[in-house]
């Protein structure tokens, strides 16, 4: 706690502060568009664009760091040449209004893309980013970050963390860039009073008590370390998985990708890296047609075990961040919370 700096930002100063920040970097924040969707959007004009902090951004930060489709190389067939595309020089970017779960997910991706070697394009983008989070005083409908230990407020990982105290934000700075920012723009802030700390603590306690869903995630993780999941559960889930891949695509910690060559004319094309999903049957099919995974029974097994068993074993923490994005979007209603319910209810009927 020694190098951690805490200050108060009056809400009136938010836009003036962001305006200063956006001079040196691209500013990305949740914006509600004309179609009623709240998306992380690059903001070019703070006077005409309203930042939406009331709704959960539809997508996490994943598309900014691991895009749905990323061009790795161009190829030209005449002369057998391959032309590798230097990853687009990453822009300095400040992400504002990021929720705790989404930053937690980014920290997990840092881990994934650092082993065995650092993924250049991911790390280029990552090292040019600064994340300003907003602690959640009121969880969204499907959230369960308390169960995954990734919110509603965070202890570390952020550049800055904002907590809404009504007419002012309680701002904590992380190490490095965040602390530098506070130093540079200190004149927008004022000192933290004892009252502010009391309110912040109270809000934190209240937030923790407001989750709609009680997900026994820790219990499920421990159970998975000790025993096998009954086969009926996998089959019951697989029967209702229609292979859209949506859960993996919206998940902020699902990082499966595949690399394809896409011809664009008779003699040229691009090599792309794009999102993939381990729930698909073809994901594990080998040359010759053999498939070690029987999708009809185990469609969701890899995904759930990876998140709740293997990652728990190797990092001591499940790689589900409780953002709730996969809940309610599953065509068959078999999202991770259904699995956890099936698994834990079975023991405590």
């Amino acid at each position: 706690m020694i190098d951690l700096k805490e200050l108060i930002l009056p809400k009136d100063n938010l836009i003036p502060l962001l305006r200063k920040l956006s001079k040196d970097a691209r500013l990305v924040a949740p914006v509600k568009n004309d179609h009623g969707d709240t998306l992380f959007t690059a903001i070019s004009d703070l006077d005409t664009t309203e930042i939406d902090l009331a709704n959960q951004p539809q997508a996490s930060l994943k598309p900014f760091f691991l895009p749905q489709q990323e061009t790795l190389a161009h190829y030209q067939i005449s002369g057998d040449t391959y032309q590798f595309t230097a990853p687009k020089a990453a822009e300095d970017t400040i992400f504002f209004g990021v929720r705790s779960c989404d930053l937690t997910a980014l920290l997990y991706m840092d881990l994934i893309f650092s082993k065995p070697a650092k993924d250049t394009s991911y790390y280029d983008r990552r090292s040019h980013s600064l994340i300003i989070t907003l602690g959640c005083n009121q969880p969204f409908a499907n959230c369960f970050c308390e169960a995954t230990n990734s919110g509603p407020y965070l202890e570390y990982g952020y550049g800055l963390q904002f907590i809404d105290l009504g007419d002012r934000y309680y701002v904590s700075a992380g190490r490095g860039k965040g602390a530098d920012l506070l130093k540079k723009w200190g004149y927008f802030f004022c000192e933290v009073q004892e009252e502010d700390q009391r309110i912040r603590y109270q809000l934190f306690l209240e937030a923790r008590g407001q989750f709609n869903r009680n997900i026994q995630l820790a219990h499920a993780c421990h159970k998975l370390q000790k025993e096998e999941v009954p086969e009926e559960i996998w089959e019951q889930l697989a029967e209702r998985c229609y292979d859209c891949g949506g859960c993996a695509y919206v998940c902020p910690t699902c990082t499966c990708f595949s690399v394809d060559d896409k011809p664009q004319s008779r003699d040229s094309g691009i090599r792309v890296r794009s999102w993939d999903a381990c729930t698909s049957g073809g994901f594990t099919r080998m040359a010759g047609g053999h498939n070690p995974v029987d999708r009809s029974r185990h469609a969701l097994k890899r995904r759930f075990l990876h998140k709740l068993k293997y990652d728990f074993a190797s990092h001591g923490k499940a790689s589900c961040t409780g953002c709730g994005r996969c809940v309610d979007i599953c065509f068959g209603g078999v999202d991770i919370t259904r699995f956890i319910d099936l698994l834990t209810r079975q023991e405590n009927p």
Binding site: N33, H35, G36, D37, T38, L39, A42, Q58, A59, P63, P67, Q68, Q69, T71, Y242, D243, C244, G245, G246, Y249, V250, K262, P263, Q264, S265, R266, G269, S280, R325, D328, I329, C330, F331
Partner: protein
């Protein structure tokens, strides 16, 4: 990078889908959460909707059959040839010798225009599409 909301091109559900556009290339597609049909998710076809747009198999120029094979020609040549051929058929065999198939993949405006052209221009009601297939 720009995200444009449009409607999925596959089935009759009609999901609201964003196309991610980077430098005139469509590089992604994802659902609208607020849209009454897609409600935050797409089927596997919808999530891959961007894939066929820049396919190398897309037709790139009008083609006209010359000496038995299809050859690239200008728009004017293809359009003039087609208009003349349809008018010839109409004059020689009557309007009902011409058949037109419209498309359940095209827009309302395009379907409207094509049936208007068929009825008012060619003078026949011989127009249908694959509703039954």
């Amino acid at each position: 990078m720009q995200d444009i909301l449009t409607i999925c091109n596959y089935c009759g559900c009609g999901c609201g889908v964003y196309l991610s556009v980077d430098n005139d290339q469509v590089v992604g597609s994802y659902p609208s959460k607020n849209h009454p049909i897609s409600r935050g998710n797409l089927c596997s076809k919808g999530w891959q909707l961007h894939e066929f747009i820049h396919s190398d198999k897309r037709l790139s120029s009008p083609l006209l059959r010359k000496n038995g094979s299809l050859q690239e020609v200008s728009w004017d040549e293809a359009l003039d040839f087609t208009a003349a051929a349809l008018m010839t058929a109409k004059q020689q065999y009557g309007p009902d010798s011409i058949g037109v198939l419209s498309s359940a993949k095209c827009s309302n405006e395009e379907n409207y225009l094509l049936q208007k052209l068929t009825r008012a221009g060619l003078g026949t009601n011989n127009i249908d599409h694959c509703a039954r297939l």
